[in-house]
Subunit: 143 residues, 2 copies
């Protein structure tokens, strides 16, 4: 039960997004080594900017626990979260946020400290695989 294992699960979610022509980003929330929330980007299907993979996974996890605070949970997401998802992670007081590939343009890190002080951050987990999914998606779109 390593970071790689759970990132593979987030990648499986990202592939669900790809299958429905959404930007392929996926996320899972892990509590006591079990996945308690899953999500993939559904902003086009739901026509809703708030339907990012992370938001859906956090909501699912909170529903599962019956608790809006996810202090013992880790969010795995294939791409560095955006400001909105970092803000949601702040409120959830996550134990950790683990992401795959960097997102230099709209990733949260360029805005400084947006996560809760208690939240650990690890990036670069299966980064190449996570980034490749995005590259393939956008290169198909440009054709």
């Amino acid at each position: 039960m390593t970071d790689d294992y759970f990132m593979q699960q987030a990648l499986a979610e990202a592939r669900k997004a790809l299958a429905v022509d959404e930007i392929p980003i996926g996320a899972v929330v892990v509590f006591e080594k079990k996945i308690i929330g899953r999500g993939y980007n559904q902003t086009e299907q739901l026509r809703d900017v708030t339907a990012h993979a992370e938001m859906l996974a956090l909501t699912a996890a909170a529903n599962h626990l019956g608790n809006k605070y996810l202090a013992d949970c880790t969010l795995y997401v294939t791409i560095e979260p955006c400001v909105m998802c970092a803000g949601a992670s702040y409120w959830a007081q996550l134990k950790a946020v683990v992401f795959g590939a960097d997102e230099l343009k709209v990733g949260f890190r360029r805005h400084g400290q947006l996560l809760h002080p208690r939240t650990q951050v690890r990036g670069g987990v299966l980064a190449e695989e996570c980034a490749a999914l995005m590259r393939d998606f956008f290169s198909l779109k440009r054709k």
Copy 2:
């Protein structure tokens, strides 16, 4: 149809939150001088940190228009939005964000430019009324 008018509508939403013992923050989204989305803070009822007034109002407005972009819409919210809600507003590419009272601790402005460059910001609309609702709520909680 002034800022004050729509902020009164956001205040009406905030009072709905107060009535169910939620932190009293309310929001409306306005398009062509009509309210097309409403929301009040429901984080306790839904046990979900993403259920802020602004998020619910943005989702409702996008559902109404069938469009995730709200470029001709203005978000009215009683308290300065947090980072999460600013991030959602960024993605929605709102025309304007109008808020009531400042939120110095968890408001988005302390983190610099989080909104879309096209989005205008106006603060201080019915600020005293918006802040008073919050003060009353927290002073009752402390008793």
